[in-house]
């Protein structure tokens, strides 16, 4: 099993979710995060002083899937999350040792 982490722009969440559903991904976990990267932050104004806020709101998706799904998932995310502008985000993939569905105790591919 593989775990895929995607950091994307918040307003792309719906599109990415649909793209993943289309290729058969049935579950994922979503976290609100803030990202720091090449994308410039915005300026905030505070009673006549300007501050640069570098940390921008992003959405992190965690998707566990069978190894043979990884390429398609990478593809689906890339297509649906891309705007072409700086800040589109990253995808990371790593190996899972074990996967368990709490409700049934099923493990591995059956668990996701």
């Amino acid at each position: 099993m593989k775990m895929l982490i995607a950091v994307i722009k918040p307003f792309k969440l719906d599109a990415v979710r649909e793209a993943l559903a289309d290729i058969g991904v049935q579950g994922m976990t979503v976290t609100e995060v803030r990202g720091f990267g090449r994308q410039k932050g915005h300026t905030e104004l505070y009673r006549g002083a300007e501050y640069t806020v570098d940390l921008l709101p992003k959405i992190k998706l965690e998707v566990a899937l069978a190894p043979d799904m990884v390429e398609r998932a990478l593809d689906a995310i890339q297509k649906s999350a891309k705007t072409g502008q700086i800040g589109d985000g990253k995808i990371f993939v790593y190996d899972l040792d074990q996967t368990v569905r709490i409700r049934t105790g099923e493990a591995g591919v059956d668990a996701v």
Partner: protein, 428 residues
Amino acid sequence: MKRLIVAALAAAPGVAGAQEIDGGNTAWILTSSALVLFMTLPGLALFYGGLVRAKNVLSVLMQCFAICCATTVLWVLFLYSLAFAEGGPLIGGLGKAFFAGVEEGTVSGSIPETAFAMFQLTFAIITPALVVGGFAERMKFSAMLTFSALWSILVYAPVCHWVWAGDGWLFNLGLLDFAGGTVVHITAGVAALVAALVLGKRQGFPTTPMLPHNMTMTVTGAAMLWVGWFGFNGGSALAADGNAAMAILVTHISAAAGATAWAIIEWLRYGKPSALGTVTGMVAGLGTITPASGFVGPGGALVIGLLAGVLCFNATNFLKRKLGVDDSLDVFPVHGVGGILGTLLAGVFASSALGAFSGQGYAEGMTMTSQMGVQVLGVLATLSYTAVVTWVLLKLVGAVMGLRVTAEEESSGLDTAQHNERGYDLSI
């Protein structure tokens, strides 16, 4: 507005030696001014602010604030004069521009004219602020401000003069509009609808759900509107008397009835009543009773409120779901439809011949039929005038500076894009 008092004041405020300031009435109108300001800030700002997405909350609060400030400055310069100074049947003159001749001692009816001017100013503020709901989450701040200022001058001031000034044409036809069914709610509702159409839909509407980001804020704002409306309708009696007290009682009843009706419909249709439905019904009940509030009784108010809840619920669904018009916060179906309904029903429930549903009766020489004729005329005139002028103004402003923010700004949110601020940072 109480008709006789307005007549008196329009005729010659502060002139007749016989006129004296009444402390009780003045206390009440000053209080009412505070209550109506409270309706806009923070009331309406919170009601609207909670309904948008978190990334746009400050833009809405800011729009309400900016409209309040700009209208106030215009009011001093010439807006009060256009609305209330002697002029023609269509618009006031400039005799009171820069508050010329309005001193501490100037009397209007039984209150200082400054109190009257202050009270009326709070109405001139809330009306364009209501329109904000129509173009929320996508309009440029600069365009919004320019449009709102022009609209106050070219729509609000004339219609206000028609209906509430002693030489206004609708006033002299005997239109019953106690606290602003035409002047406030129809103008605001129609303007919001036109703005929604001219600006176009928000990105993603109607497929993406655009749920309220903070319903506790919306409910808080709704509650403040309810409380403040006591000053809105009660203060329109321009006195602390039985007329004011009855206006408040019927206002309260209609609010409760409107909320009840909307909640019951939801309960029947979806199995659950929602807080948002309840407070929306309440606002519908309040908007609808507004023109009628000084003329009807408790029984009439109950009926008016119930009808408001039912009709505005259906109008909201029809406009947004059927027609797909993105009047973001449903200003037209609630205020526009409510204002029309209320102005018409004022003509019905003012009658003193309806038994337990009777009101205070018609003016001498009026019957239900003749009164309804005036009411219909008032509605149509306000509606069509507002629609045309609003459309022209938006096209004009759009041509000069553009109406919408860029797509990028819209998706990142108006708060950072237009004001370099964020609503919340609860992380530290």
